[in-house]
Amino acid sequence: MSGHKVNNFVLKMANVNGTGSASANGLVSKAIFRMGVPMSAKNFFPSNIQGLPTWYEIRISGDGYRARAGQVDVMVAMNAQTYKRDVAEVCSGGYLIYDSTWPWDEQLSRDDVTFIGVPFARMASEAFTGSRIRILMKNVIYAGALAALLDIDMAVIKQLLKDQFGDKQHLIDANHKAIALGYDFAKENFDCPLHCRLESDSKTDGQIVIDGNAAAALGCLYAGATVGAWYPITPSTSLMDAFAGYCNKFRSGDEGNRFMIIQAEDELAAIGMVVGASWNGARAFTPTSGPGISLMSEFIGFAYYTEIPAVLFDIQRVGPSTGMPTRTQQCDILICAYASHGDTQHVCLYPANPEECFEMAADAFDLAERLQTPVFVVSDLDIGMNEWACPEFTWDDARRPDRGEVLDAEQLAAIEKFHRYLDDDNDGIAARSLPGVHPKGAYFTRGSGHNKFGGYTEDADEYQEVLDRLKFKFNEARHRVPAAVESGAHDGEVGIIAYGSSDGAMIEALDRLKEQGLDAAYLRIRGFPFGSEVQKFIDRHEVVFIVEQNRDAQMRTLLMNDLGVRRDDLVPLLHYSGLPIYADFIVQGVLNHLQQRKTA
């Protein structure tokens, strides 16, 4: 054993999909969090309902690092199918806990790993009756063993069970029994705690554990979104599920629902519904993933050209095509920025964590209505479906939605004639009117050529005039989207650009690089079109890396296209395996490139 790892190790559970391991795993991670120890948890699951392998990885980091660590210290191997790879993944000096109901295949053993056998299945079948309950309780028994082995606070576990099961005493009793079985067995048979262990702290005070999709749904609720249309697709489904849950809690009553959630027949219809609702003055959104964006493209271009607000959440998963639906990537950067035929470009926001999912969801509605255009919140599976510790969300009660330039009945009555696409104040934005409000507000929305008055046109000048204003308006969006944030060194030669869910790995990588003597600057892009700070950052550094989770360096293409950056001025570091990026990948990539430069 290389040394004690207190509040600083990776615990991973290898399970079989559909065996109810999620609640036991959640119990362990929540208990660690409530002990005041920073942690984040990731699910690695197959596109399957039952039977295939699934993993749950808890990164325990007293320093607050939230990315995947890239190595495992303690493995709970509950799936014989994956023993081989699970053993291989444990780092030297680490531990592997397995079910000793069946003999262990010595061929799988390693000298540098401690193997801990607990007869989980036998204990479960002796203590419980019924096959389903036995399978479930087997998981809870390993949670109990972990409590002893890792020194998890039992009082915290008991409180969690109470919070979870409320007055269902029989469930609390069963869980207590299973926890005690595992705990006592470990205490009696092994030296507890292990070298990897926990110690109570206070570092999670003021924090919560939430996934990005629930956070985004909460942002929609607080922004006052009333119409949500969707077609189920992993990994975006939980966003609408969460929105429905919040709406039922906060927006239903005797007078009826103050929301409408429509499960559409497909994504073409989902975006059509969003466009129709927004045209008619409601705040509307659709959550989807890459395949959905492909289908929605025609309507996205329509909304861009007719200037109808729309909020889209793209929870990215691995493409192309169906790809790997339950794995993460940042592979829709270009399609979101340019979805649809013709000259179109779209405002995009790139949240890096749940707290930004919450904020950017709310901001997206303001931007969409202010700019009268589709706005994409480009999240991913890692942010959307994994559990992140983050600061409690807050809301400013003085905040009012920015509904943009919408003429009300009085304003319409006062003007001589309303023209839909006339930009009176030269900000690129033309005031709109809503149907049914005032006779003078009527106009014809059309995706065919139109002039600034809203009339049909095939006249070159009239057509171009509108198209040029749209470009001008898009440029104005530069100052409205969230600015890129800079951290790290101020006067170094090396700059690194990243965005979205690479943030956790980036923060950690910067620290690691510093330990190796490289003080790099970090710019995190948060919105498209890019602000001037992005250009300045690139100009200021001798070497600029761009870290992305896709194969083709899509953000680099976007930077080249939008800012005129030269391709060779951005060195891509690309991680696209489908697993979330980790710090060491960035560290090695940076150091290798710099070494090559030196020798070249």
């Binding site: 519904m273 329509f302 009527a442 014809f444």
Partner: protein, 351 residues
């Protein structure tokens, strides 16, 4: 070239409706369709129907897809918001618009190509949701706007201007809608204004999805001998089942019910439909019988028209969803945003 508006000269002698509007106030821009196109007659019927319904034009939204038929919302109700969407996707836009504002009247105009080929999915699901709207299919058996290719509603054996007769079975929106649970299904003919106008009025006032499939000949590509969607063929083969008269709320119904051939059906706003049986054997409240009757006549090349199915009790889209009465778009922010205190409380649940 920009939008052509008709001269808005007021003729002092023109009759006005209860709101003081003349029929002119329900008209739109000048049609750019071919002279004699059936679609223009449907436009005229819509103008008349809305005028007679005493609806404020701006409380109507008119939406469409793409096609010659889908252009027509520009030719009526110029004082209403119009929406030319993308090909085959009008139903989803109406669904969203209706979700946001449930108190307005929605009329969707589509073509047989728009609704039965590219848009068949959205059409079917609008029916299924019993979306509160009037849905008109201007059915000519061809894609007019792309120069006359057969559409999915072309009848077996119908002859094109050039080339071989159609060899594929037609998709009939009326049969489809009845079998999928639609609450108001009618067929009419662009050349029969007397039948069409009351159907439009009843369709607007019906609380739910009202489909009117209107045979609307394309004079340029499908009005020749051998076509089953021509003016002549339709006139020769029309079979009217039930004639509908529309009686607005609070107007006295003066009709003789004694013969048993006229029934009165009350609509949600208090108006009435008077259904006069032309064919005594027809029942508009029996789905299976309606489909069998229509298909039987179709097999003989006949076009069955009138209000073919009606069920006034089916809950519409918002009723099913349990939405509040007030239009969602009008709800004040404080009724939508739970505020900081509720958030702080909610956050405790994520510890």
């Amino acid at each position: 070239m920009s939008h052509i508006a008709k001269p808005a000269a007021r003729h002092p002698g023109q009759p006005v409706n209860k709101l003081g509007f003349s029929e002119r106030d329900y008209e739109g821009g000048m049609s750019t369709l071919c002279a004699g196109c059936g679609h223009d007659s449907i436009t005229a019927a819509l103008v008349k129907a809305f005028f007679e319904l005493d609806i404020e034009p701006h409380r109507v939204a008119k939406l469409s897809g793409i096609g010659c038929s889908s252009k027509t919302p520009a030719y009526f109700l110029s004082a209403s918001h119009g929406f030319n969407s993308v090909h085959g996707r009008m139903p989803s836009v109406v669904t969203g618009a209706n979700a946001a504002e449930r108190s307005m009247a929605y009329v969707g105009v589509s073509g047989d190509g728009d609704s039965l080929s590219i848009g068949i999915g959205q059409f079917a699901h609008a029916v299924r949701r019993n979306l509160n709207m009037l849905y008109i299919i201007e059915n000519n058996g061809v894609y007019g706007l792309t120069k006359g290719q057969f559409s999915a509603s072309a009848d077996l054996g119908s002859k094109p201007k050039k080339g071989a007769p159609n060899q594929l079975s037609p998709i009939d929106p009326v049969n489809m809608a009845i079998s999928m649970g639609a609450s108001f299904v009618a067929r009419s003919f662009s050349g029969d204004k007397d039948q069409l106008v009351p159907l439009i009025k009843a369709g607007i006032r019906h609380d739910g999805f009202a489909l009117i499939d209107v045979i609307s000949p394309c004079v340029t590509f499908n009005d020749h001998d051998g076509s089953t969607k021509s003016y002549q063929y339709t006139r020769d083969n029309i079979v009217e089942t039930i004639h509908t008269d529309f009686v607005p709320p609070r107007q006295e119904i003066t009709v003789d019910f004694a013969s048993g051939e006229v029934t009165s059906v009350r609509l949600h706003d208090g108006s009435h439909m008077l259904l006069k049986k032309v064919d005594k054997a027809y029942n508009a409240d029996d789905r299976a019988a309606a489909i069998s009757y229509i298909q039987h006549h179709q097999a003989e090349g006949r076009v069955v028209t009138g209000l073919l199915y009606f069920d006034g009790a089916e809950p519409e889209f918002h009723q099913v969803s349990g939405t509040c009465q007030e239009p969602l778009r009008d709800l004040p922010h404080n009724e939508l945003c739970p505020g900081s205190e509720a958030l702080a409380k909610l956050m405790k649940g994520y510890r």
